[in-house]
């Protein structure tokens, strides 16, 4: 058995953490795992397969593996300082390692479809997948887009989500978490928060105790009651420290036209503060007249997109889907490059 690494070992052996941050304190991990109550879904974990994306130094992987003893746990990372560290420190553990690029979609196809190194079972969407779990640390803020794409994959039911409603435990910059968890009317409300709210139940499990955490909506802090983490329990030691949050993302079972929903949220959230009666025109020529006529609700028409709930967007999607004169929503996808 390999014991968890001390902070010193990590700092001495890993010269750079690639603008990412990692929790190291085993006892905090213990609190987190208690809070997660994973056994409720995965029972004794004997059938559980865990994909551990951007596993970094592997501290979390190691502690998780020790605690839950899953059937298979595959670490993915292609950053040399981490993979070198694994070479010397994690060989002989239960952990499997892959140095394929986690950023590339092809890597997953390779692992799952071609090499068949990691093959999860496909499960019905009526329940949360009970044999497949994903963990990731995407705390480098340049990968915010990747997190958004993962969320999108939940809606599209592709990538790892083609196997069913797969739960994900993701470390991310607190700024990203703030965007994802922003409730209606809050200033951070964006298309990302709508995606998170509509397609998942995203729960804030832990958050580093810093000024960034104060940007998190008060209501969310109250409801989710996250574990507050001290930066002293993380690596690297460098300043400025990276404010990070841990989210447990549980996909919902949704059935509506995702393309239309995407289009509507995108068009309306560009002008999030514009009253719907003006913004509706952005949904297509004649949009204002159509929605005014169908909704027959002056009050609603005068509200703006930032105040709409996820349900209200779904309602708008349904109305849009029934519009005989709706525009071809793929039109703007292929606007030409040459910018005269």
């Amino acid at each position: 058995m390999i014991t968890p690494f001390s902070k010193k070992v990590l700092l001495d052996n890993i010269p750079t953490f690639y603008k990412s941050s990692f929790l190291v304190n085993p006892s905090v991990y213990e609190t987190i795992f208690q809070k997660l109550q994973l056994q409720k879904v995965y029972k004794d974990c004997t059938d559980l397969k865990v994909l551990d994306i951007y596993a970094g130094p592997g501290q979390q992987s190691l502690i998780f593996n020790e605690k839950f003893r899953p059937k298979q746990q595959l670490l993915m990372d292609n950053r040399p300082k981490f993979t070198n560290f694994w070479e010397t420190h994690l060989k002989g553990s239960h952990l499997q390692l892959s140095t394929q690029d986690p950023y590339s979609w092809e890597s997953y196809l390779m692992l799952m479809d071609y090499q068949k190194i990691f093959v999860p079972e496909t499960q019905d969407r009526s329940h949360i997948h009970n044999k497949f779990f994903v963990m990731a640390n995407v705390t480098d803020k340049k990968y915010e887009g990747l997190i958004m794409q993962w969320y999108n994959c939940i809606g599209q039911k592709n990538w790892v989500h083609r196997y069913g409603r797969v739960q994900m435990l993701v470390w991310m910059p607190t700024a990203t978490a703030v965007k994802l968890l922003a409730p209606p009317k809050s200033s951070a409300r964006s298309k990302a928060s709508l995606v998170a709210e509509t397609f998942t139940e995203s729960k804030l499990i832990a958050i580093t105790d810093d000024t960034a955490a104060s940007k998190m909506d008060k209501l969310i802090l109250q409801q989710h009651d996250p574990i507050m983490i001290k930066h002293a329990d993380t690596v690297p030691n460098k300043r400025p420290q990276i404010p990070m949050s841990l989210l447990l993302i549980t996909p919902r079972n949704v059935t509506f036209n995702k393309d239309n929903w995407d289009y509507i949220t995108k068009q309306l959230m560009i002008q999030r503060k514009t009253p719907f009666e003006d913004a509706a025109e952005a949904l297509g020529p004649g949009g204002r007249e159509y929605f005014t006529q169908v909704l027959q609700d002056k009050n609603f028409m005068s509200r703006n997109a930032a105040s709409f709930s996820a349900e209200e967007f779904i309602l708008l999607t349904d109305i849009f889907t029934n519009w005989p004169f709706k525009p071809d929503i793929f039109m703007s996808l292929f606007d030409v490059d040459n910018d005269d």
């Binding site: 590339s104 979609w105 092809e106 196809l109 794409q149 994959c153 599209q156 039911k157 592709n158 990538w159 083609r162 995702k258 393309d259 995108k266 068009q267 560009i270 002008q271 025109e281 952005a282 297509g284 020529p285 004649g286 949009g287 889907t321 029934n322 519009w323 005989p324 004169f325 709706k326 525009p327 071809d328 793929f330 039109m331 703007s332 996808l333 292929f334 606007d335 030409v336 490059d337 040459n338 910018d339 005269d340």
Partner: protein, 1340 residues
């Protein structure tokens, strides 16, 4: 040693004052320049400011105004120019901002004044005048603004007393200190004459006017020069009736007219008919010529033609959903792309149509009565070129050309002026026709739809205009919200509606938006169109103003009128200085667009998803929304797909400017930076975008006649007359009309075919790929479509100009490179365009010409790397192919000419050659074909001459040789040799192995060619990747290989062009240092803020022809304008920001070389013109008649030698040294270096003396002090100066002392000032440029 420690600060200040008060006479006279004062003294420009003893950087504006070294020095008049006009650009950002804000204010007040006067808002106008008056820097020219107002007010007055009272009151009480000028008097005179009771005693009038005339010291001549105020009748009254002015005080045009008028009156009185007035004709040698000329001009310009402009009603109907008629031509009609742009072009080209009356006149053209010399076939359209070619003698041809030039004056006007009224009429017509046919017809007809929009928009428009009027009249002061209001009253509402509709349709599919446009562009475009419409109305109004009272006169008299009109036109174009502020354009545009969005609807149909039934409805035609475009939130106006389908959704190329076509008459010669080119629209000498600095330099140079040689060269290019190659047109139009792809012509495309969408749960990688592929499909479709459109425009224009004689007016980019002003169809275009053009004038081939025609053919084919004889041989070997090409050009797909490098031009030359060979003596053939001589990698030629590289010079053919050298081959061989060498030590280098086997000249060609123009490693990698991609296949691998080779190519070029390379590096280093420097006389305020200097110094140099080149690269700033559609960000033409050091540096070496190749071309053009040659150029490709190639070749070699005989690099260094001599450079040095320690110590001492931390401003001031002492004429001062030490004197030569490594980084470094010293110029190689004169293959 005199240090601050030695005297207290007060004493130093006192010394300084003393020095300044004495107005130190310095060793350098330039130092007495009235530049702004050194830091701490009075504000620049105030009368009390003492003159600095330091040399102002652009007192050195004089530098470029010094006589060009190629010129006769005495020919250049010295310029008095305040350096204040220039230091605005080199001072500090704050200073520039304040000064430009003043300029911006003046400009926006001007345009507002103009608008308010036009709209009769008199009170408001007066209050605007007050604002203008309050801008102190503007006071000097304020009277011009008052004159506008005065003229407007006088127009509604009924007595002279009233007018004088107003002027007296205004200039005494409202605008004290302002005095009348000649124009004010002219206005008073004009209106006095206007209101004088007709037929009454003239004594009162005479006495009033006498008083007026005595008001200005400049006298009657200056007053009479105001031909935009005084009419022809006024002059008659002043001269004839009142006798208040003398004949010689009148402008020459008027004088001529008065004289002619008198002669006419006398002859008419005598009962004789005016038949001759030789005085009006250009001097000619023989009486016979004169009589020919007279009778001919009578025929083409009989008295039936009035001088009023040709009515353009026939020519101005724009049909938007039908094909616009094409110009009547005896040639195949083209199958056209169905775009609005095409229709607009066709519509404009109708200006070339001839009226029946005109046709009749041409048909009867003869030199002798009763003889129809042209035997015109009435069934055919008139072809001036055929007529011209059939003439036998040079005299006849010369005469014909003169008459044609005259005849074409009116046609030129109808080509340049466009009418919107006609569009509206056509819509109404179509609407009514459609209405008669029933509802469906209305739905289908686009014009009917447009008419509907128009009729719905018009009442709203009128309401808006009325509301604006109320707002203006009610407003106490300027209102921000309605600041656009006065402008809405300038153009009538009907026209504004039409313009808005046309502009929006024209902008469809621009700015990367497939079905719509960017809002910012749309609002500006519409606003600008309204402004242009207003301007052109003004221009037409003015044109007939002076001559309004003249009617029915003889031909000869009309000639004078035409001349007068011509000069008036120039006058007005030159005076057009007012432009509307961008924010006004944006606001006017957005108001109009909003109105249109509100009313414009299109019928739509769709399927109800619930019932699956077809449903019909209508939807707004335009909608405003936002979208992300490359990650940026962008406001867009979308056009409903139902409408774009009807517009055929074609991608419009740039913005079609129909008025910019080739000209039917000689372009207006360039005489100033804003005067030249077209007759009815203003063109700028330099294509520049929002660079007030450039404009200021060019204007100053122009005023001082420093760039007359540049004008001269450009005018030569404009004087070359062209016609369309009929045979080529016939072949190309045949291919075109098949609609199939041929050579570079893309075929007609149907609707775009996207790949089907993958299932929604497809892997993200699959979805991404699908998006990528579809984007590629969309791009390719768009690019083919735009290419076909572009070629169509070219062909359509060519067709309309068949048989015409035409010209290309030219202007230039900021480096001095010349370009034709008319886009689309010109000789700079693609192979097809060029093949369609031939010289109007023909020249007998002769022996040389025949040979050069063959060489030209070989060159076009791509056989240009063999000796001249070999090229001739090549052609002779292919005579059968050539004959076959001419006889059956489209017979099969493997025709010989199709495989040529430039197939269309090859075919054109084949025609010419075969025609010549048909003659018994081919040398007798009259050839019109332009024959080209191209430089071998012209950029490298200039570099080799600058650096004196022997090997390089020989590789680019500067040294005589028996065969042409191929620099690309040479570099490829060098690379190969280097790689073979490399493999000896690293035998496993796979990439090296690959290239040793595969390298060829084609792979390296583009990189070698662009290397001199500063291609980066990334750019070169992509160029090479393009060449080897197919060989390697894999994208990543190919790029890696390309990157490897790019480095090798760079190294190989360096081997052969080492000195040239050192020069390139030197240019770069100079630029880096200049970019980091500031003026030593910078004002204290701008340095104290943040203790951080603004880098404002751009690189400026003067070309050998005297053209000042100012690199325009500065940081961009955009201004936010709230419009009622959205907030738009638009660039501010008055902004002067810090320079962009990266672009300054990257741009300098290539720009410098371009400024040289441009000079070489213009010098060659002027010389060729003097020798009687026709000349055209495409940058480094020079064109003339085959027979004249030997002369042109001689000239261009001599001019190259003349250019490079002077050490241009040394000259540049001298110029820089002078221009930037009182600049300091900001740099970093190691804190712990010896110099660093000394400077720190001195700073510490200064801090102690000051009792506060020393700052940069203190350091600069101390240095200013030291220099002032050194430059004193008092020995004691100089001695003290020598003793004084400053942080800057301690940093002498810091740039040379420290290595690049030591100057980089932050930690352990300190920021210092050091005197700006440019590096020494690298040594030159042994090559002697004179040998170019004998090099056959220099240009060949």
């Amino acid at each position: 040693m005199l240090r601050f420690a030695g005297k207290d600060r007060l004493a130093v200040a006192a010394l300084r004052r003393r020095l300044l008060a004495r107005h130190i006479s310095t060793k350098n006279s330039v130092l007495c320049d009235n530049m702004s004062t050194v830091a701490g003294s009075a504000a620049p420009g105030t009368a009390a400011a003492p003159s600095s003893t330091l040399q102002g950087p652009d007192s050195l504006a004089k530098q470029y105004l010094q006589p060009g070294f190629l010129k006769d020095k005495s020919a250049v008049s010295p310029v008095t120019l305040s350096s204040r006009d220039f230091d605005i650009f080199t001072g500090s950002q704050i200073g520039a901002t304040v000064r430009m804000a003043n300029k911006r204010d003046v400009m926006s007040l001007w345009s507002l004044l103009e608008a308010c006067l036009q709209a009769n808002y008199n009170e408001r106008s007066l209050s605007i005048l007050k604002s203008l008056y309050n801008i102190e820097s503007h006071r000097r020219t304020f009277i011009d603004d008052y004159n506008l107002y005065c003229s407007h007010m006088c127009a509604s007055m009924t007595s002279t007393a009233e007018m004088s009272k107003m002027v007296q009151h205004d200039l005494t009480n409202v605008f004290p200190g302002v005095t009348m000028n000649a124009k004010t008097v002219a206005i008073l005179v004009h209106h006095s004459i206007r209101v004088a009771p007709k037929g009454a005693d003239l004594a009162d009038l005479k006495s009033d006017i006498s008083i007026f005339l005595s008001q200005v010291p400049s006298g009657p001549k200056a007053i009479c020069a105001n031909v935009d105020v005084l009419t022809y009748d006024d002059f008659k009254v002043l001269y004839r009736d009142l006798g208040l002015v003398k004949l010689q005080q009148l402008p020459s045009n008027i004088r001529d007219m008065l004289a002619a008028d008198e002669v006419e009156a006398t002859t008419a009185a005598a009962g004789t008919k005016s038949t001759d007035s030789t005085a009006t004709l250009p001097p000619a040698d023989s009486a016979e010529f004169n009589s020919l000329m007279n009778s001919a001009s009578k025929i083409l310009n009989p008295s039936a033609t009035t001088t009023t402009t040709i009515t353009t009603t026939e020519a101005s109907k724009v049909e938007l959903d039908k094909d616009v008629e094409t110009v009547e031509k005896d040639a195949r009609q083209l199958v056209n792309v169905d775009t609005l742009g095409m229709k607009v072009i066709r519509h404009t080209l109708l200006g070339l149509s001839l009226t029946d009356e005109q046709k009749g006149r041409i048909a009867n053209f003869s030199f002798n009565a009763g003889e129809n010399i042209f035997n015109l076939d009435e069934a055919k359209t008139i072809n001036f070129f055929d007529m011209y070619s059939s003439l036998k003698t040079p005299e006849e041809r010369e005469l014909f050309e003169k008459v044609l030039e005259d005849f074409n004056q009116d046609r030129q006007q109808s080509l340049e002026v466009r009418a919107t009224d006609a569009a509206k009429e056509r819509w109404r017509h179509d609407f009514e026709e459609a209405k008669a046919r029933g509802d469906i017809a209305i739905k289908k007809s686009l014009n009917a739809k447009l008419w509907n929009w128009y009729s719905d928009m018009l009442p709203l428009m009128k309401k808006e205009v009325a509301r604006c009027k109320r707002e203006v009249l009610a407003a106490k002061g300027p209102s921000k919200k309605y600041d656009y209001a006065p402008y809405l009253a300038l153009v009538n509402p009907e026209k504004m509606c039409v313009i808005t509709i046309l502009e929006l349709l024209k902008l469809n599919s621009t700015g990367g938006i497939a079905e719509g446009m960017r809002t910012a562009r749309a609002v500006i475009s519409v606003g600008k169109s309204i402004e242009m419409e207003f301007r052109s109305e003004q221009l037409l109004k003015n044109e007939s103003y002076m001559l309004k009272d003249i009617n029915k006169k003889s031909n000869e008299f009309k000639k004078y009128i035409r001349n007068a009109k011509k000069s008036l036109r120039s006058l007005h174009l030159d005076e057009a200085k007012v432009i509307w502020p961008q924010s006004i354009r944006a606001k006017v545009g957005s108001v109009l667009i909003s109105l249109l969005i509100n009313v414009a609807r299109v019928p739509v149909e769709g399927i109800d998803p619930i019932t699956n039934q077809k449903v019909y409805g209508d939807a707004p035609a335009f909608s405003h929304s936002y979208q992300y475009h490359s990650g940026i939130k962008l406001g867009v106006i979308r056009i409903h797909p139902a409408l774009t389908r009807q517009l055929n959704g074609d991608k419009m190329i740039a913005s079609v400017q129909p008025q910019l076509l080739p000209m039917l008459v000689k372009p207006r010669p360039w005489v100033s930076s804003k005067s030249g080119g077209y007759y009815y629209s203003q063109s700028n000498l330099v294509r520049t975008k929002d660079s007030p600095e450039q404009t200021a330099y060019i204007d100053a140079a122009s005023k001082s006649h420093a760039i007359d040689q540049v004008y001269d060269g450009l005018n030569v290019l404009g004087e070359t007359s062209w016609t369309v190659n009929r045979r080529m047109f016939d072949v190309i139009s045949q291919v075109w009309n098949t609609g199939k792809p041929f050579l570079e012509i893309p075929g007609i495309q149907q609707a775009i075919q996207y790949l089907p969408r993958p299932p929604s749960d497809a892997d993200p990688s699959v979805v991404n790929k699908w998006k990528e592929q579809n984007k590629e499909i969309a791009n390719e479709f768009a690019s083919n479509r735009s290419m076909r459109c572009d070629m169509n425009y070219k062909l359509e224009i060519a067709r309309a100009f068949l048989g015409e004689k035409f010209y290309f007016p030219h202007n230039m980019d900021f480096r001095g490179r010349a370009y034709p002003l008319s886009p689309h169809f010109n000789h700079l275009g693609n192979d097809m365009s060029r093949s369609l053009l031939t010289f109007w004038k023909g020249k007998r081939l002769g022996k040389d010409g025949l040979m050069w025609l063959k060489v030209h053919l070989a060159n076009l084919y791509g056989v240009n790397k063999v000796p001249i004889e070999g090229r001739v041989q090549f052609v002779e070997d292919h005579m059968d192919d050539i004959r076959n090409a001419v006889e059956n050009p489209l017979e099969s797909n493997d025709q010989w000419w199709l495989k040529s490098d430039k197939p269309w031009q090859t075919l054109a030359t084949c025609y010419e050659l075969i025609e010549a060979l048909k003659l018994e003596n081919p040398e007798d053939f009259i050839s019109h074909q332009p024959v080209h001589q191209d430089g071998t990698c012209n950029g490298l030629q200039h570099y080799a001459a600058l650096g004196g590289d022997m090997i390089g010079a020989s590789q680019v053919n500067l040294i005589p040789d028996v065969k042409p050298n191929d620099v690309y081959m040479h570099v490829a061989n060098n690379v190969k040799a280097n790689l073979i060498e490399k493999l000896k030590t690293k035998p496993d280098d796979e990439i090296a192995k690959f290239f040793v086997e595969n390298i060829n000249r084609k792979i390296v060609k583009q990189t070698v060619m662009t290397h001199v123009y500063g291609v980066t490693l990334v750019g070169a990698t992509l160029q090479i990747d393009k060449q080897i991609h197919a060989m390697i296949g894999d994208k990543k691998k190919s790029l890696a290989y390309a990157n490897y080779l790019a480095k090798e190519v760079f190294a190989a070029i360096r081997q052969s062009f080492n000195s040239a390379h050192l020069i390139q590096d030197w240019l770069g280093e100079c630029c880096t240092r200049i970019s980091k420097s500031i003026r030593l006389d910078i004002d204290r305020k701008s340095l104290e803020k943040n203790n951080k200097p603004d880098f404002m110094t751009s690189v400026i140099w003067t070309t050998p022809l005297g053209l000042p080149i100012v690199q325009p690269y500065r940081e961009v700033s955009k201004k936010q304008v709230d419009t009622n559609l959205q907030t738009v960000f638009i660039s501010d033409p008055f902004a002067v920001n810090q320079i962009n050091a990266r672009r300054q540096k990257a741009g300098f070496p290539p720009n410098f070389i371009h400024s040289l190749d441009a000079s070489h071309m213009l010098m060659s053009a002027s010389k060729c013109y003097k020798d009687g040659l026709e000349f055209a150029s495409v940058h480094d490709s020079y064109w003339t008649h085959a027979a004249d190639i030997p002369t042109m070749n001689k000239n261009l070699r001599e001019q190259f030698v003349a250019l490079h005989e002077v050490d241009l690099i040394e000259r540049l260094k001298n110029e820089f040294d002078e221009r930037y001599q009182n600049y300091v450079k900001v740099m970093k040095i190691p804190t712990d270096s010896e110099m660093g320690i000394k400077i720190s110590k001195l700073r510490q001492e200064m801090t102690e003396q000051l009792g506060r931390p020393v700052n940069f401003a203190d350091e600069i001031e101390a240095e200013q002090q030291r220099l002032a002492l050194l430059q004193s004429t008092q020995e004691e001062d100089v001695e003290r100066g020598k003793q004084m030490v400053t942080t800057i004197s301690l940093a002498e030569n810091a740039d040379e002392i420290f290595t690049n490594e030591e100057k980089k980084g932050d930690s352990g470094r300190m920021v210092i000032f050091t005197r700006l010293v440019l590096p020494e110029i690298p040594s030159k190689g042994d090559f002697d440029v004179a040998s170019v004169k004998d090099s056959t293959y220099f240009f060949s």
